[in-house]
């Protein structure tokens, strides 16, 4: 059973690294941020699986904070970096 959990976690990590490729490639900032968000979601999944595998409930708290803060970062991105994509949009 443990092995299956770890296999899953490893698979998700590979997914995460595939997502990294998109962050690196872009081409737009939004692509990168979406991919980074995918990171967050995948990381939450990894945490939950590891929590199950090791029986450490604290990891679920970590996953919870992860999920919440990922949303905050996403909002920060939308509010701060988005206008940059559209030169006609005036930030000030």
């Amino acid at each position: 059973m443990q092995a299956i959990y770890f296999l899953l976690a490893l698979f998700l990590l590979l997914n995460l690294i595939a997502g990294m490729w998109r962050v690196l490639r872009g081409p737009t900032a939004a692509d990168r941020m979406l991919a980074a968000q995918l990171f967050g979601t995948t990381a939450v999944a990894i945490l939950l699986i590891v929590a199950q595998a090791t029986g450490d409930p604290a990891l679920r708290d970590v996953a919870l904070v992860f999920a919440l803060l990922a949303a905050v970062t996403a909002v920060a991105f939308v509010r701060r970096a988005w206008p940059d994509e559209d030169p006609r949009h005036d930030t000030d």
Partner: protein, 321 residues
């Protein structure tokens, strides 16, 4: 069992190599926005590393501060920087950032490589088994007033560090304020999606912060993690265009800012007068004292971090000469 070790090992190897690769790319890519997004991703991977190293408390702090708040801070700073550069007509400079890189000395990478090899050797030369202070911590847990060891170290055994650290936070806010206001951000009205998201998210963040504070006495969590999650709620409100306005300079607000460090210092002084020893919590009251200190610290940390994010001094127009 064999496959399990193998799987764990490959997981670690993959995670480690990604960390190093990500760090390299984020520090050397041309586009600063890309660098920041990669930094947020880097923070996420760091948190996974903390989990693998059995440090859930650090993982919580990293997820909240390292990946979350620092990311928001960096994104905001970059946005403001671009506004400044647009106003000053220096936008070109950012795009040509790579051309402005200082000339690469051949010696620097070589010297750093030697340093890295030396440090790596030192790390390997460490004895394979070393208990550190884990036995001392275990022996004294009963007298610490809490049952979670990291909280015991932070608030009791090494509480003096934490006391000073609260002042580090406060001093950085005073520093940010003393530099005067930077370009202020006028938020556009949020769309319905963002608006709804915020309305749902802020109460959840507050709830989670309270939970982390409470759980810190016996499980991973505590004032710093709770404070940063609470600060995230504040950051979200600020991002939506909410502004404290003149409220920042009122006495009650200032009292919240200093409550954490202040109460900590006063407790230290009182205990010295009563027991002749700095920060020596009486065993029977230690739990309550620690909870009181942590609660005020959570509030102060949250407000200070949110104010750092806003980074606008109160009364900036009046005092800025």
């Amino acid at each position: 069992m064999e496959t399990l070790t193998l799987l764990a090992l490959s997981f670690d190897a993959l995670l480690n190599l990604s960390l190093l690769y990500l760090a390299w790319i984020l520090l050397n890519c041309e586009d600063l926005l890309k660098a920041i997004v990669l930094f947020v991703a880097f923070g996420l991977l760091m948190a996974l590393a903390w989990v693998r190293l059995d440090a859930p408390d650090v993982a919580l702090a990293e997820a909240a501060i390292g990946a979350g708040l620092t990311g928001a801070l960096l994104l905001t700073a970059l946005a403001k920087l671009r506004v400044i550069e647009t106003n000053k007509g220096t936008t070109q400079q950012l795009k040509q950032d790579s051309e402005n890189f200082q000339t690469l000395h051949y010696m620097t990478p070589l010297a750093l490589l030697l340093v890295a090899i030396g440090l790596g050797y030192v790390v390997f030369s460490m004895p394979p088994i070393s208990a550190g202070l884990s036995n001392d911590v275990a022996t004294n847990m009963g007298n610490s007033g809490v049952s979670h060891s990291v909280t015991a170290v932070l608030l009791n055994f090494r509480g003096y560090d934490t006391l000073l650290e609260m002042f580090v936070l406060l001093v950085s806010l005073l520093g940010v304020w003393s530099f005067g206001s930077t370009t202020s951000q006028h938020e556009t009205t949020p769309g319905p999606v963002l608006d709804t998201l915020t309305r749902r998210l802020v109460p959840v963040l507050i709830l989670v912060a309270a939970y982390l504070l409470w759980v810190g006495a016996h499980a991973p969590g505590g004032a710093f993690q709770a404070g940063s999650v609470l600060a995230a709620a504040g950051v979200l409100l600020l991002l939506m265009g909410w502004r404290p306005g003149g409220y920042l300079s009122t006495l009650p607000f200032r009292l919240i800012l200093v409550a954490g460090p202040g109460l900590f210092a006063i407790t230290a002084a009182l205990l010295y007068l009563l027991k002749g020893q700095l920060l020596a919590f009486p065993v029977e009251y230690a739990g309550i004292i620690i909870f009181a200190l942590e609660t005020t610290a959570t509030l102060s940390i949250a407000v200070i971090l949110a104010a750092l994010f806003l980074s606008e001094p109160p009364h900036s127009d009046k005092e800025h000469i």
